[in-house]
Amino acid sequence: MSLLELDAVDSYYGQSHILRDVSMRVEEGEICALLGRNGAGKTTTLRSIAGARPPEVRTGRITYKDRDITDMETEDISVLGISHVPEERRVFANLTVEENLHLADVVKNRSNTWGRDLDFEHEGQSIEQILEDFPRLSERQQQMAGTLSGGEQQMLAIARALKQSTDLLMLDEPYEGLAPQIIETVEGAIERIRDEGTTVLLVEQNAVAAMKIADRCYVIDQGSVVFEGPAEELRNDEETRERYLGV
């Protein structure tokens, strides 16, 4: 049994039919990349899995740890160990860097999660590790997140997700707006948590960078899966790369 399975999923925004018959598997302990052009449906796929609405999943089934999560609430899916870093730097501008990071741990406070199923096996990265990875955040812990630069906000969003206790980390364009050196840091962190057993589902525009660290890849186009296989295979499949990824 795979950690996460999508079985013939169809997702809609109101009347527009976006995901068509999407089936995917993400295996425990791997880095799986989901690639495709602008508007292909990558973000829609991640949001469908995370239970974020819209989109609406009308048919098909999403199974995680043998549990049907298709119609579950976002916050209940999250505490089963799926953390999702959405695109566009969703940090809380009115809170400090430290408070933003602390929000990753609030679910461990039972007054909020009382009466709900919690199920995560892999502890998040320690605050020390995170501040070591991202010294810029370390220097700015008391600064309001809204006053950080775009790149720093992106670092904060990723750092917060790394701090969450999670078994499946879904990253939507994590390299967006980051300098090459920081991208390396993020790549290193992703590989480290994979080695510690956390599974990663990575969405990237930068297909070359994603293929570098991915174990397996999916390519999606116009809402349908058009390629599935080891990263190695995609790197060698020039036709698919040119046709669907433009690289």
Binding site: A52, T74, F92, L95, L103, S111, N112, Q164
Partner: protein
Amino acid sequence: MSLVGELVVLLVNGLQTGAIYVLLAIGLSIILGTLKFVNFAHGALYVVGAYIGLLITQQISIANGQLAEWGFPTLGLGWGFIAALVIVPPIVFVVGLAMERFVARPFYDRPDTDQILVTFGLAIVVQELIHALIGPRSYTYDIPSEIAGGIPFSGPVGVPLSAVTIDVWRVWVIAITATLVIAVYAIVEYTDFGLVVKAGTRDPEMVRLLGIRITRPYLVMFGIGAGLAGVAGVVGAPLSNINPEIGMTILVPAFLTVVIGGVGSIRGAVLGGTLIGMVQVTLISLGTVSLGSLSINFTPWAQVGIYALAVVVLLTRPQGLLGSEEVTA
């Protein structure tokens, strides 16, 4: 009476009047600032608190209410003021939870005008319900005997002044308010609960993606605001008469307090409420002042003074004294 003594009395009266506004404004301001919900029924919570408090404190005779016809010509437990002070806040807290769940929550994503309509309607329903059941007449709270006395105040040691008397019970109101304000401030500023509410103001979906159920903190926050309004009803009512209309009457200075202090700011509510209380009490106690042939009676101008204060503040700091500029509610 000495000038110092008079000023001390003025200060105590002003702080005590202001305390009622502070208690009301905190809930109003937090609900407006964090949940972006305009609650015109906040005054109804005050009335509910005042009436429940009245019925716990003493026995009242019902003249023109339905309840008299239904066989309850007198009503009330007669347990005293302290009992009311303890029992009312949790009751109004629960009323607030129900209000959030059934009135506010369905309207969070609706325009302000819809929120105003529904809460204004609810306020009128509550007012008319009390009107019908208990009747239109005004009741007075007896100032509780436990705290009815006065403290003689004779100025700093060694300064001979003719003594004035400070009402013990006013000092009580100030002390109770201060304690509650500090408690709520600590909850909002220093707990995970407060952090989640603040985060939810900006991006509720991201809060949920972090596994946090946002509805629960919202619910509790609303309840806390309601509970404070209930306390205001109990401690504010002995000051004035109680009738079904006081909820609407008190709503105006409560909103002005929020506006002056700054939406969403607890410290702002404290500052705004205190200022309003001081201005109001000062104008009332000035009474008639004669300057040569010109004599002005300031008492009726107390209400005008509050508005004037609000106008001055809004012209100089549109976001309120301690409000942050970003809040647009």
